[in-house]
Amino acid sequence: MALQNEDKLEVRYSSLQPKPKKWVLLMLRLLAFFATAAATVVMGLNKETKTLVVATVGTTPIKATLTAKFQHTPAFVFFVIANGLASIHNLVMIMGDLFGQKLDYKGLRLAMIAILDMMTVALISGGASAAAFMAELGKNGNSHARWNSICDKYKTFCDHGGGALIASFAALILMLIISVMSIIKLLIKPKPDSTTVVP
């Protein structure tokens, strides 16, 4: 009699809880993967070469070639690495969702997914904000430190960098939503003996 009551209680409990549909999470992860991959690739291939005529000896002009690459700035290197790691994370999560539904470790699968999602959000936010402030410095310069802006000389470099930044910020918002959904999935499992949170 007690067992029947418990079963009825649990069935009613689980049907009342709104479970996030599985394909919504998968679609969001796919979008986030595309966004982070786009940001990595666009910034990773960001390079601009300019040839300037420095002097003229007789009739032959002496040219100097200057390049702007993303490796010159540590903030952009961090940006590329962070977005690369985030795309790998998203890829692994998508593969795990599609093919590895049975993989578990002592019932901690959902907790591990939630914690890894939080770590990736932190990583992307760090990379995106560092690159954003470096890009602002490159675009506006800093009169107090006598640093000139470089965007008027390397327009394509700045444009591509801006595009990669936009993709990364979109990925950040998507990853935040995904992280919140993972945490909700973790917390709505019916736990009969958990009362209040111990601070």
């Binding site: 760090g126 000139n148 992280s179 601070p199």
Partner: protein, 162 residues
């Protein structure tokens, strides 16, 4: 008597509040004036938007940390605190990341863009900014420890079941 779990959590939150406050104060009072071969220069934290963002973000987290210190142990608001901890960790990471990117350029310069390092002339300013960044780092690590601790406490019934 206060339970040891509550004491530990209170201690960690106090450390986090103290370090964010120290970061704000150190960065906001960093100010240096001087002359360098008849060229007068002045360095303040408002010269760079990255440092302004650092001060604002750490000020917000200081106020939040101060309010959470007075939350009674049994109230249901602790679930909201768990979520807000994550949001404020993201804010802290972003502000420290931005400030460090600009501080690195200030210290080492960027020869390809013809940006000269300025830390040689404004040593006191640079040292104080470094101190503020270190305080910000410690605050970030403390908040991460707090978040993991809250998640562990919340999931403890789940672990015992498994």
């Amino acid at each position: 008597m206060i339970k040891p779990k509550r004491l530990l959590s209170l201690l960690l939150r106090f450390i986090a509040f103290g370090t964010t406050l120290a970061a704000v104060i150190l960065m906001a009072t960093s100010h240096e004036k001087g002359t360098f071969f008849a060229v007068s220069y002045e360095a303040k934290y408002t010269d760079t938007p990255a440092f302004k963002y650092f001060v604002i973000a750490n000020a917000i987290v200081t106020v939040y940390g101060f309010l959470v210190l007075f939350l009674p142990p049994g109230s249901p608001i602790w679930r909201l605190v768990l979520a807000l901890d994550l949001v404020f960790i993201m804010l802290l990471i972003s502000s420290i990341s931005a400030a460090m990117a600009i501080a690195q350029v200030g210290k080492n310069g960027n020869p390809r863009a013809a940006w000269l390092p300025v830390c040689g002339q404004i040593t006191k300013f640079c040292n104080q900014v470094t101190g503020a960044l270190v305080a910000g780092f410690i605050a970030l690590i403390t908040y991460i420890i707090l978040l993991l601790y809250s998640i562990y406490n919340f999931l403890n019934p789940l672990f015992e079941k498994a």
